[in-house]
Structure formats: C-alpha cells, structure tokens
C-alpha cells in the first residue's frame, strides 16, 4: 500500500492504433522480441548448429567415398552451400513456429489484442525470423574453411544477402503454416510434410543433373531450389574449378534447356516471399 502514495501522476490517455507510425512501432517491437529471445537462448544457437555440422563433416566426409567429385573439388565443398541453405531453412521455419508456442502459452493473445494492425505483427515476426536465421547462417559460414571454401569478403557478403532473402520467404511460409496450427504436436507433421521434401528436392545434398524426369520436375517446383542454386553458384564463382567439374557440380537450374540467370532465380524467391507474406497477413487478420 505504501507504494500507492507516490502514484499520483496519471498519464493522459494516448490514442494508439490506426496510424502508420503505431504500426511500424509494432513491427519493431515484435522484431526486437525475436532477437532478445534468440540471444537469450544460447543452447538453441548451439543445438541448431549441430545438425548442419553433422551433415557437413560426417555425411559430407562419408559420402565423398562413393560420390566421386572431379579432382580439385571435395564433396564437402559441394555440400557447403546446400548446408548453408539447410541452416537457414530450419531456423526460419522453427522461428516462425514459435507462434504456435505463443498461442499455446497465451502470448499470441497479448499481441493480437494490442491496438496495432495484424499485418504489423506478421511483418515483425517475419523480419525477426529473417534476422535470426541469417545470424544463424552467418555463424555457420564460419565453418567455410572446413569445407575448403575461401573466406572471400565479397562472396560472404553475397551469401548473407541471399540468406536474408530466403530466410524472409521461409519465415513467411512458416507463419502461414503456423496460422493453421493449433497445437505444437502438429508441428512435426508439418515439418515432415513440407520442410523435409523442400530440403531434399532443393539440390542441397546432390546436384540436380541427370535425374529421372519425375524427380527433375519436382525439383523445379520446389521454391527452395531457386535459393540454393544461387548460393552454390556464388561459392563456385570464388573457387578455381575445372570447367568439367563446374558442369557436373554447379549445373544451375534450367527450364527447357534454358539456364536461369541468378537474378531471375532470386526474383522467383522474392516473388514467393511477397506472396507468402501477403497470405500470412490475410491468415492472421482472420484470426
């Protein structure tokens, strides 16, 4: 009760809601919360590095026994950009799925009842997931040396830019899924149904050449293909590799024999990002 004595100052009621400034502040607040939670959860940072490291060092090393790469290029080098993509994929989707967690523990309601437009909440969440997944990817990039990939500043910068773009698209995808999920248990089902196929079809673990036509068709439908290919292309640009090796390890993505330029591939990813973000916003405005 003693505390009550000093509480005379009552703030004037401010009208929030409806203005762009309020909504942008909402975006920032939701984004910052993602960062705080990421920074606090050191264990998660470490554990989510375990899977890509296992893929790169154990699977990459193990498969290189049978997967014969042209001389001068190790299989680990081939896999490296794919595993970068995998790190971003899983971190983004997991980060978006925290909405399901928020729903279960009530915090989603705290956000949804605020006098802030729903689109701002969704955008903040997507930007948060993007930042977190990109940071996680950057941490993984530190292992480039273990895969005989040089630490070229320009290359690293280009990789970070692509990671950010794909992380945004994937978080938007995750948020869209999360809008339809009521329980945490459904999450692993979603991962099995959407995320694993996306990962395997993206060319992250094997080059997309000489595949049976049905598999070839599926890899072209997978949007992640158009993010993994630029990652790999940029890494190989900074290696000195014989032309024959390039053709088999960095074949690019072709439509009817026409090889898509990197710019167009990234354009496809950006278009997916916009569509998924829009869909996620619509899904949450109905909640």
């Amino acid at each position: 009760m003693a505390a009550a004595a000093g509480l005379h100052a009552v703030l004037p009621v401010r009208e929030a809601g409806g203005t762009l400034a309020t909504d942008l502040r909402g975006v920032r607040v939701v984004w910052r919360r993602e960062l705080i939670r990421f920074a606090r959860d050191r264990l998660r940072i470490v554990t989510s590095l375990v899977q890509p490291v296992l893929f790169l060092l154990i699977l990459g090393e193990g498969l290189s026994v049978i997967a014969r790469t042209p001389p001068g290029v190790s299989f680990k080098t081939f896999m490296f950009p794919g595993i970068v993509g995998m790190t971003v994929l899983f971190t983004s989707v997991f980060s978006a799925m925290s909405i399901v967690w928020d729903r279960e523990f009530g915090f989603l309601r705290e956000m949804l009842v605020a006098p802030v437009d729903r689109w701002a909440i969704v955008l903040g969440k997507c930007l948060g997931g993007m930042t977190v997944a990109t940071l996680q990817g950057v941490i993984f990039l530190a292992l480039a040396g273990a895969a005989d990939v040089p630490y070229d500043p320009l290359m690293l910068l280009e990789l970070v830019a692509i990671m950010a773009l794909m992380a945004f698209a994937l978080t938007a995808f995750g948020v869209l899924l999360a809008s339809r999920i009521q329980q945490m248990q459904s999450f692993s089902v979603m991962v099995q149904f959407f995320v694993m196929p996306m990962f395997f079809l993206s060319g992250a673990v094997f080059p997309l050449v000489g595949l049976p036509s049905w598999l070839n068709a599926l890899t072209k439908i997978d949007p992640l293909t158009y993010a993994v290919d630029p990652l790999r292309h940029i890494v190989f640009e900074h290696l000195t590799v014989p032309a024959a090796a390039l053709a088999s390890l960095d074949p690019g993505v072709s439509w009817n024999g026409w090889r898509l330029p990197v710019g167009m591939e990234l354009g496809i990813v950006a278009a997916c990002a916009v569509l998924l973000l829009g869909a996620a916003m619509v899904a949450f405005s109905r909640e």
Partner: protein, 353 residues
Amino acid sequence: MHARRAGREPARTGIGPVPIEASVPTIPEPAVAVQHLRKRFGDFDAVRDVSFEVAAGETFGLLGPNGAGKTTTVSMLSTLLAPTSGRAKVAGADVVTERGRVRSRIGLVFQDPTLDEYLTAEENLRFHAELYGVPAATLDARLDQILDMVELSDRRHDVVQNFSGGMRRRLEIGRGLIHSPRVLFLDEPTVGLDPQTRAHIWTYIESLRQSEQITILLTTHYMDEAEHCDRIAIIDNGEIVTLDSPDALKARVGRDRLEIAVPDPEAAIAALGERFGIEATVSEGMVAFYVSHGEEFVPRLFAESGLTIHSVRMSRPTLDDVFMAYTGRTIRDAEASASDHLRESARRFARRR
C-alpha cells in the same frame, strides 16, 4: 476485509465519482454502457440480453458460476468477440465499430496467463508499453512506477519463468495498467491462487483505483471477492439476475439461512412446508431454507417438527444467499451443472470451426 472497506470510504468520496450527482455537475458518460448484448455459439446462448452501465471510477463485478457468460461478456466488451446482437460502448467508443479506440483505452488481464516466460518482467512491460504507444519520454518513469506498485522492482531483470503464480498475476495486472487505460478488465484475477496471494492481489486492486482513478470491471466466482466491488451484477445462464451494491443485495435477502442434516430430506421438506409454511430445498446434501429470526426458529423446529435432526447450521445472509435467493441454487451447485454444459458446447463449437 470489512475493516479495509471501512477504511476506504473517505478516500473514495475524495476522488471517486461514486456519489456521482454530488461531485460532478454534468452527468458524465458511463465508462461502460451495455445494451441488450447477446452472444450465440452455434445453438448455445452464452450471453442473452445483458444490459448494464458502469460509472467512471466504479469497481463493478460480474459474479456468477463458471460458464455463466462472464468471460464471454468481457470478451465482447474488450473487442475480442463480436456480439451476435446488441450494443456496447467502453470508454466512449463502440466495441464493434471503433475497436482500435476501445483497445487503446482499456487494459486487459486475462484468466489465462499471457506473459512471455522467456522475457524478463521489465521486457514484458516494455513490449506492452511500446505496442500501446506509451511515449518513450515517460516510459522509464512509468515502468519504475508500475514495478513499484506491483512490488516487483527487485525482480525486474528476472526471467518470468522463475516467477510464482502470484508474481505473474501481479505482473500481468501491472502490464494491463502501464498504458494508463481508462477501464481495466480483470477476468477472474485471482483464480488458481492461494488465499494469501488472493488477498494480496486484492490489496493491489484497491490501491489501484485510488492511484490510477480507474474504472474496473472484473469477473469472479468467489463470493467473498465480490464484496470488494461497489456494485455487483449476478449473472447466471447468460442473464443478469440482479444488480446492486453488495450490502443492498444482502439487505434484500434479509433473512437467516438454516441448513439441517436429516436422514430423509424429502420427508423433511414436506414436513417443513406443512407445519411452518416454509419452502425448503436440498443443497449440497442439506435441507436449506430461510427464516426471519433464525435464533428463535431453531427451538421451535426441534419442539414442533418431530423430525430427526442430526445437525443445524445457521448463517446470516451472504452473497451466496443472494445468489441462492435469485437462482434457487448455490454457486457451487450451479457450477457443477453449468460448466459441464458449457464445456460440452465449447467443444462442439471449437470442432465446428
């Protein structure tokens, strides 16, 4: 509890608009005005035709068993649910057409926790304050003030995960206030807490209305908590059965309640009706009825009724009796039946969505 109520009186007349006509020259707009509010879930009427007004500065309670429609009413008033029909204005804004305005003018403390357990107490408050547009210049001072009020200043940098149930609830109440809302909704603010913590929470709520000059609308199914309110609406089966101050409600019942344990309740009810013209009912295994002067009636009961009576319990009117008088059952009896029905309906409704 009564001592505290008595102690509060002078302060209330000082700041509160409670005797409205005396302190305010023009009739102010009520903080909450509800007209014929209804909500249907499928074929279940959760709230049917509820109307009431809450004056600015008043603490108003919705009292009723679980499943009576209290939370549904609060959800509609806080714009979380769209009413099926009827109108409501909260802090001067319409809950259907001016949802954004309503939301920025109210504070909400839900029955279920809505804190981020991975953030610290201060981060939870900051998140909320910025979302509600508390100006950066005043935010730090306001944070200190709120943390002081809910006595969590020394834990402000602790992650909420490590907080007890009472601390969490205090933090939630503080959070609901940080943007200086005009109306604070508290949905079952003390449910699931131990009695000591419940009493503690009430101390805060009482100090709040003085320091923040705020209108509070709360729901509870604890009779003793309803005593803290200026006025209470007793709600049952989605309808308001009566509405008045706690004292006025008790005065209306005005009679003592007697409960007797007998081997054959049916026979006892018949005998009471025949000999004394008393209408008795079975409640929680006892035969219960009301008489004007209990202490004089008990000797007559033994002398004249001829019943075998194992025990007698007499009580002065409480809000429980008010509830009993208006609904024909105790709040616990009501909960046993109503909550089953509501849970079943809610399940069916959820499945359909």
